[in-house]
Symmetry: C4
Subunit: 274 residues, 4 copies
């Protein structure tokens, strides 16, 4: 198991080419946020936009449109009850599941609509729905972001026994492409087909609702804008950034709110750009 | 009567264990906010989240959902006209009454649904409804946060004669468990079965609408995350923090707004964590 | 004509008594904000709350509730289509007219409901409605805040000829109590039964939509909380504060937004409190 | 081709006359923002208000009213499905097209309602609709703000061949008055009947959704308040300000958000006012 260091940030966060435009930095589609859990997609989007994604659209319950735009006029919105096929297929990165509740229909539709070359991040409620309904995984490139209980439901391996072996078994059997699995815990681990990586930073000041939604949004933002970088590296850099910012905030704060981490991204990333 | 000092903060605000997650810091359910008084639950929630509660849900009139999420995507929301039984019983701390108006039905239902081990904070309109309708107190652990007129309505003892004796009489007769009573006034007093405590700090710059809603939210946030600390101590620490922050803001401000106090919580708490 | 100086601030902004509560600082009712002009009451309320009013309620079109609470959970809201009699009569200060559009019915009702001892501030659309419909003035204490065109419509005296004489004629004939008239212009003038006062500060960086709504809100906030100070003095102090803050902001800004002036009030007032 | 320098700012940004009021600084009407793209008009309006326009009204889908007022109570709103004739004709500057989607009817109506002396800025979706439906240009003074693909659709000249010649051909044939064309790209070019200007500043940190909506809003704000300055100069100053602020923010940020640029306008402009 390899320990991550800030070296991964220098590898991934590159100065942008002059001859680029917002299309260069990718289209992100965020799908989530029922009436009750709309905050989750707001946090997804704040993270994706502040990390530098080119264009971000949120497909959600319409009740959430106004709160999203109150935070972020920079995003577009759409009703997740409408047909999402075109929006999905026009995106580089799709993030599904934060605050998605029991909307199995939307997970199924998204899984059937994605192409093999697209990046699909599966978070939160969508992971639980996959586990409960034994949904087959889609053919796309996959990043899963379970916490330990969600991973137990998905893998059938108890929290105590979660290990690289369990991942291998699951990966061999169920996935068309090998996924990247971000197993959220104290010292988060990232399982990939290149090896396992452990995050030596972060702390319990991050133990507050919405922290995972923010992480998923940073992963989406990094994947979209650093499309030519290996996806494992961009994911690792996103995971590292999320906790490194929290660590910095925690020098002066007892808890670190998810929205504060997103707000700190532009300045944080600048320090590593090269 | 014992005078509180910042010593109570050192006793209560402990560094968090590495091996913890948002569930460790408790689930808070806030119930309040009619169409007219939605701001009250926003202030409850800002205080609870910024003080470090693990997960915060607001049950309120749906008209308030968007404003809540505009302030705090970190919270979940639900319609307080729906059946709250499950949400109540899944929570560690329930705060009811800020901006609840005349919703006697919701108070009654909440009082009947809570378990003996849960912490129920009763604030604002809910206190008036209890007094007016002679509602029996529930069997849960109780914290009441009346201002002097609400306490007069509840206890039948006039503002001039409010004293420890009055509290004892009320407590013996009406409560299953001895409550903690936070009697809000200039130099707030906290009545407990261990004694009476007086807050020697705070000032008239706090005399502005919503200040009590913020206090109730801090009490909820502290109770939820410091679940293993005696509830009297966490309540005293919350009361102390609320006014200590106001005092600091008042060095440079003529009035201190409730939302500013919540925003200052993470940095304030950090200074006392040990 | 007397030139105002910051001396008026020292006269009015007094340290608060310890033995005071939010009721001590007055109840303000703001009436305005049709569907199209909701921003006006938001700016009224931001000014009133930040200047230190005890309790602020906004009676407005319900479409504005969420935006108000997004800015200010510290306020209460009500539908201005409901019967406002009780709300009006329970208030110390009523501010009517900012963004009120053509709601003559609401102006009429308010004028008929106020008591002689209450303070009524009439702003914006309400002034135009009074002029157009030759409404009789109510019996309450009155503060009018016209700009020059509104004053021309009200007084029948053209902008070029506006003078103390014109005021005297109008005042003798139409008002039950002598009003205070804040005639907004470059170097705003305040007409009172004690004399005329001129504001020697302020500048064209204030020439932006909403500036008058903010001024009306500060007048309301000062009148409510300094209830025992002569109303002429509190009005003069409010007028002075509004432009003094703008002047300070203008050291570093080309234009000064109304919402920035409100946000600066607590710190500004602290410097003069004595 | 002339390279722009900050000299253009000293030419355009003049200290305001004392004897001026909000009417002096122009009325801006922003038309755009369907249900899905409401953020675009929020960014238009933030830019127009912060750059110093006197009065700003947003005609948009009513779903966007609350989010607009959450950002900017300083603006007025109206339903873009209502008859806009009066609002258009009462404005000094009309900005149409940001997030307007497929609302061809609104473009047509606006084009037919404007007068020859009014300034009409055509952005985003409106440019695409003009190209797709071969709409005749209106008789007003025109500023077009296409990115390269939109310009290709409008002019029929491919991105590779875009040049002054192409502009001349288009201009001769299709426009009643010679328009100003702001061709957005790395080193944006501005085509005018006085010559072509190139912006030597700006960078890829601006490659994020909403950047163009903010530019259009600054152009509108400058055109409205500097009505007596030649429109070419005000447009050039707006284009320069937009990227100069982004460059400054980029010293410490990896990406620069559109809303941050608007927030920085008042301080930026102050440095050049003379």
């Amino acid at each position: 198991m390899e320990k991550l260091s800030e070296q991964i940030l220098y590898q991934v966060i590159k100065n942008r080419a002059n001859d680029s435009h917002k299309g260069t930095y990718g289209r992100v589609l965020i799908i989530g946020g029922t009436k009750q859990f709309g905050g989750a997609v707001i946090m997804n989007a704040l993270a994706a936009v502040n990390s530098g994604a080119g264009l971000v659209t949120v497909a959600t319950d319409p009740i959430n449109f106004t709160a999203i735009h109150s935070h972020l006029p920079e995003t577009m919105v759409m009703d997740f009850n409408d047909d999402l096929t075109h929006a999905i297929q026009a995106s580089d990165v799709i993030l599904i599941g934060s605050g998605l509740g029991d909307r199995l229909d939307i997970v199924k539709h998204t899984f059937s609509a994605v192409f093999a070359k697209q990046i699909l991040i599966v978070d939160g409620s969508a992971l639980t729905l996959v586990a409960e309904h034994h949904l087959p995984w889609p053919k796309s490139r996959l990043i899963l972001t379970p916490h330990q209980m969600e991973w137990q439901r998905l893998s059938g391996v108890s929290v105590e026994q979660q290990s690289f072996e369990a991942f291998n078994i699951l990966a061999r059997e169920k996935f068309i492409q090998k996924p990247i699995i971000v197993l959220k815990q104290f010292h988060t681990q990232v399982y990939t087909n290149k090896g396992i990586y452990e995050l030596p930073i972060g702390g319990p000041y991050q133990a507050t609702g919405g922290m995972g939604d923010t992480l998923a949004g940073i992963i989406a933002g990094f994947a979209a804008q650093f499309l030519l970088t290996p996806l494992i590296d961009t994911t690792l850099a996103a995971v590292y950034s999320h906790s490194a910012i929290a660590d910095e905030l925690a020098h002066t704060q007892y808890v670190t709110l998810p929205t504060q981490i997103s707000a700190a991204l532009p300045r944080f990333m600048k320090r590593y750009a090269n």
